[in-house]
Amino acid sequence: MKYVLTADKYADALRGGKFLGLKCHQCGGYTVPPQKVCSGCRSEDMEVVELSRNGEVRSFTVIYTPAEGFQPPYIVGLIELEEGPWVTANIIEYAPEKATMEELMGRKGRIDYQEVPADMFSGGPRIALAFKVAD
């Protein structure tokens, strides 16, 4: 069966203004980021759907010792989407010095994305999910 939503198509959709995921016809669950089979029931019978972009911070860290190519400090978080899946995203437009458990954990917001420059290991251009905390 043909791959329904590849990593490249998922990234291109974000660049085009759409945050896509997969909805399973068998169990009704969502799979985000996309993969070959449903993360809940392993069915391949899934359709591509546009997601709400709504989510909540479940955990985070402020990174001070970066990987090559990144400017510290920056925030990475685990975001639980309204549809159920968790995604890894940068928490952007948020001052790292204010990033405490009390301030950030459980905060609601919206999913966006950022372009990330290619490097010698990345196999081409790439994007990262980004999360903007609501006021």
């Binding site: 990593a7 990234a11 980021p33 993969q35 993360s39 479940r58 955990s59 985070f60 860290t61 402020v62 990174i63 001070y64 010792t65 970066p66 990987a67 090559e68 190519g69 990144f70 920056y74 990475v76 978080g77 685990l78 639980e80 899946p85 968790w86 995604v87 890894t88 995203a89 940068n90 990033a99 458990m101 954990m105 990330v116 490097d119 290991f121 990345s122 196999g123 790439r126 994007i127 990262a128 999910l129």
Partner: protein, 390 residues
């Protein structure tokens, strides 16, 4: 299946190496071969764990190069790449081939030379162990994963971060206390105070430098043989009685990473094969790449209930004389973490503990020991349970 044992072990001093990873493996391997009282020609296969030799030294085909280096040309030589659990997978595969009766003697272990890389490059390369498309582009580092684990843990069990941080600092203190008297450890001779731990720089909040393992070079090797052969070679063969392995994908796909299903499944497989339960384990080397990782692993292995691991640290349950002494080698934190070699170095320690050869670090009355090794985004987790074979 035949009974399988480890006849002899060897490892280099971990830290900063002036020799290549092939040379480090060769040094550890020849020590293991000598300790096993065998001739190199008795070896029938060579299995070597190595994570990132391609980038570190431009060296792929690590196992064949290692085999050739010690004169074992023509043998089957297989490299295992599963980030930090590579060396454990090499040993588990040696166990499987010998237990099936296909070989009598296999040389297995691992090697890694990370210190050829700058810290930013090493952080990037270690980052190969998370999802390259969906996570790496956020700049998620390894400390970052475990930092998020720490925040989740504090929230889930409703404890102030400062309380968790104290338990984490105690894990680091314990590691350095024992690592400082382990001559093979990167931090040998360097005891660390609680003040120094608390004052260290932030790496990825809430993890500070002394919550994190160092970047290391090292090699380690073991000779795996059928029990019949091992008994002829040594008075103290260490029997492998249980192995387990499990896997996971991207960090985010696992959601609440205070519980790692791959670890729980893998360790249960190992316990089942050994016919043992967590309370039967007398000493454990587990994957303390970060202080919070030790706490979470001690729960995942079933030594403590979920949420009780940080209290166990404060009670001293995981220190010498406690319910389950953990990482008496100094662990990954203080012994060092040359990732491909780490699993083999854990086995090295357990073999020496079972044989009663650990000096001031010796746990009394050890009959059964266990290793826990975790690679990547919890992508590969593997366990080995060993007991005295004499």
């Amino acid at each position: 299946m035949r009974e399988v044992a480890i006849a002899g072990v060897g490892m280099t001093k971990f830290g900063v190496s002036e020799i290549t990873q092939v040379e480090m493996f060769a040094e550890a391997a020849m020590d293991a071969i000598a300790a096993s009282n065998i001739k190199p020609e008795a070896i029938q296969a060579v299995y070597v764990g190595n994570a990132d030799g391609n980038v570190e030294e431009g060296q792929a085909v690590m196992a064949p190069m290692c085999a050739s280096e010690i004169g074992l040309k023509g043998l089957p030589a297989t490299s295992f790449q599963a980030a930090c659990s590579s060396g454990t997978l090499a040993i588990i595969n040696a166990f499987v081939w010998v237990s099936l009766g296909l070989y009598d003697v296999v040389l297995a272990g691992g090697t890694e030379r990370q210190r050829t890389m700058s810290t930013p490059l090493a952080t990037r390369v270690m980052g190969f162990g998370v999802h390259a498309k969906y996570e790496t582009p956020t700049g998620l580092s390894f400390p970052g994963i475990f930092a998020m684990m720490a925040h989740l843990y504090a929230r889930k069990y409703n404890l102030p971060l400062s309380e968790l941080k104290e338990a984490m600092a105690r894990v680091s203190f314990k590691a350095h206390k024992w690592g400082s008297i382990n001559p093979k450890a990167q931090f040998f001779g360097k005891e660390v105070t609680m003040e120094k731990i608390y004052a260290s720089d932030m790496v990825a909040s809430p993890l500070q430098v002394y919550d994190c393992c160092p970047i290391s070079d090292g090699g380690a090797a073991v000779v795996v043989a059928s029990m019949d052969v091992a008994r002829k070679l040594t008075d103290k063969p260490v029997q492998i009685i249980g192995v387990g392995q499990g896997s996971s994908g991207a960090v985010c796909s696992q959601k609440d990473i205070t519980r790692i299903p791959a670890r729980e499944l893998s360790s249960q497989r190992a316990y089942k094969m050994a016919g043992l339960k967590p309370s039967d384990i007398d000493v454990c080397e587990l994957h303390d790449c970060f202080t919070i990782a030790e706490i979470v692993a001690s729960e995942g292995l079933g030594f403590f209930k979920p949420g009780d691991g940080y209290k166990a640290v404060m009670r001293g349950d995981t220190d010498m004389g406690g319910k389950i002494p953990i990482n008496m080698s100094g662990g990954i934190k203080a012994k060092g973490h040359p990732v491909g070699a780490t699993g083999a170095a854990q086995v090295y320690e357990i073999v020496n503990q079972l044989r009663g050869e650990c000096g001031a670090r010796q746990v009394e009355g050890v009959k059964v020991g266990m290793t826990d090794t975790m690679g990547g985004s919890f992508a590969s987790i593997a366990h080995i349970i060993m007991r005295r074979g004499w």
